[in-house]
């Protein structure tokens, strides 16, 4: 099993997310994460989908996604240089005697404390998946009360783009 990161341009229309998500569950593909938002062109959204599977499954995922009329273009960017980021919010137990320790961890990971209560704090961090996993692991001993991750969003490094301009007509493969 491998993890691949797909950058998918779709029509910004109601129901598109249902079509994409439904396709994954219906055909038994594993979504690791899915993040979606509109692009520089308001009629187009970009989905960053991290999917698990062998080469055969990934090929099928791409082909089946391509059959959806609302899917404009699919790029597997896994092997390209790209910036991948995830945002996480972690609510962690923080009695006064351990706050110093927590602050240190926050600093090491260049995270931020964005809310403080009497015996807990909310920490915000961004980074690639490994970093987010690492900060989660470091905070675990204190007792994580709640955590929410956005899933990865990604962009190709350099001047190259994975937008409509890159493909001209928008047809995939």
């Amino acid at each position: 099993m491998m993890k691949r990161t797909l950058s998918v341009l779709v029509e910004n229309r109601p129901g598109v997310l249902t079509r994409v998500a439904g396709l994954f569950s219906r055909r038994g593909y594993n979504i690791h994460s899915l993040a979606v938002g509109h692009t520089e062109n308001p009629s187009i959204s970009r989905m960053t989908i991290v999917v698990e599977g062998d080469a055969h499954i990934i090929e099928q995922v791409e082909k089946q996604l391509n059959k959806l009329i609302d899917v404009i273009k699919i790029s597997d960017i896994t092997d390209e240089p790209y910036v991948g980021r995830e945002l996480v919010l972690i609510k962690v137990n923080a009695e006064p005697d351990v706050r110093g320790e927590i602050m240190q961890i926050v600093e090491i990971f260049r995270a931020r404390i964005v809310d403080i209560a009497r015996n807990s704090v909310i920490i915000e961090a961004t980074g690639d998946e490994e970093k987010i996993d690492a900060i989660e692991a470091s905070l675990k001993p204190f007792g994580i009360r709640e955590m929410v991750r956005t899933g990865k969003i990604a962009m190709i490094r350099g001047a190259k783009t994975k937008g409509m301009e890159a493909s001209g007509d928008g047809s995939a493969i």
Partner: protein
Amino acid sequence: MVQQSKERTGSQVLMEVFQNEGVEIVFGYPGGAVLPLYHELAKTDIKHVLVRHEQSAVHAASGYARISGKTGVCFATSGPGATNLVTGIATAYMDSVPVVIFTGQVPTFMVGSDAFQETDITGITIPITKHNYLVNNVEELPRIAKEAFYIAKTGRPGPVLVDIPKDVALAPCKAPIPEKIELRGYKPTYKGHPGQVRALAKLIKEAERPLLFVGGGVVASGAEDLVFELAEKIQVPVATSLTGLGAFPENHPLSVGMVGLHGKPCANHAFTECDLLIGLGVRFDDRVTGAIEKFAPQAKIAHLDIDPAEIGKNLRVDLPLVGDISSVLKELLPLVETSRHDAWLKRIKELRNKYPLTYGPGGEVRPQWVIERLGEMTRGQAIITTDVGQHQMWAALFYGYTKSRTYISSCGLGTMGYGLPAAIGAGLASKDMQVWLITGDGSFQMNMPELATAMEQGLPLKILLFNNQSLAMVRQLQHFYYEKQYTAIEFTGNPDFVRLAECYGAEGLRITKKEDVLPVLSQAMKNNRLTLIECLISEEEMVYPMVPPGAGLNEMIMPD
């Protein structure tokens, strides 16, 4: 043709689109939410066929589309009308039949409120349509309606559903029908990659035992003549899938017939022995391949299809080739040399003699024999629609198809009840060919009320109903795989089908012994009314050959 952007209602827009698309018939069933569409339809000269159940509307539209080569059109109302369509839509989807379905929906301001007769039909049909739309704004309707027809018919065809809230259908619309379709996410590939086409020509040249495998994609593409030309030019055997029946004439010396779970023995052996298998518009589904690891073990596999997602889905493929079959074959034909494969054809002849298609034991009237006689009497010139069960397989194996678009059946979904409404659609599409429905007592009773529709349409359909008082295909499964424990397959209260036909004002005939067969068939062929023949057969008949689960195609169970 530039459209004036004068104001008209949503329903009127739809009628304009229908005129542009050349729609001749709408199959449907009315109800409150779809009345605005019916109101405008009545003002056109488009024929409406009122069915007895919405499922049948889609099946009939599918039969119409498969015979005419055009796109079938259906209407249904919201809620139960829409949900009744589901089996029909799924059936059309699995066989890649172009149908556009328009459903009425509750008004936009009620959508999402569990209003009376509201169902989320676009949500329900996402997995069984090529695409679907909920029209939220009437100004989008001209574009959507045109796109719906375009998507249904182009690329790999399939059903498209358009859900139109009642207020949208009634609302004034200024937007013109667009002249051009712009779908940045939908660009079917028609032309094959030249390098791949050359590679295929090379594979053909190198192969000693090539086999052409013809499927529904050949019919959809209208590539039958090109396949014929290719087969004769390189002198190789030709097999078909169930959907491909008739796309290559079965009386041609190169034909080995249908392959698969209940394929002809010669075809199944040919698959196991060939060294190059060229799949043309097929999808290698499990009923074709048998155990996938034993499928075509000696062969390189070339797969041509317009749908890239079919290639490599079920099977490792040595040469993928995406494109429209006609277009690809036109490129390919000049690249292949006229050749012969005498040793291979000799081997095919041996296989044909060694493994003939036989009936196995049975009762007094043999359904296989009846179908063979029907094939002879109609000289393969009738349209055969079928239901699902043993009779479907006998109809596939024993009729002898010589013309494309003459075997119309629910091949992919296996929907009992498809045959009668499909025959109605076929009858309306075909002016000159006789339409026969070959059905079973179980399947026929699923959509039997459509007899009335057929009568209303004045269609002289011929119905050959094999009555074994049972769901005999299921019985066959229980016979082989469930210790002959026959459960839930026996009918003890079937109607008298002859009198039933008479009730509808049709003619009813019965075959109870072998001597009845020829006179009854010829009487049915001659008379010009809807005629139902009830043919009594034994429930102990089996469909042979049969490839058991886990076996290769050559490991068929044959009659003793």
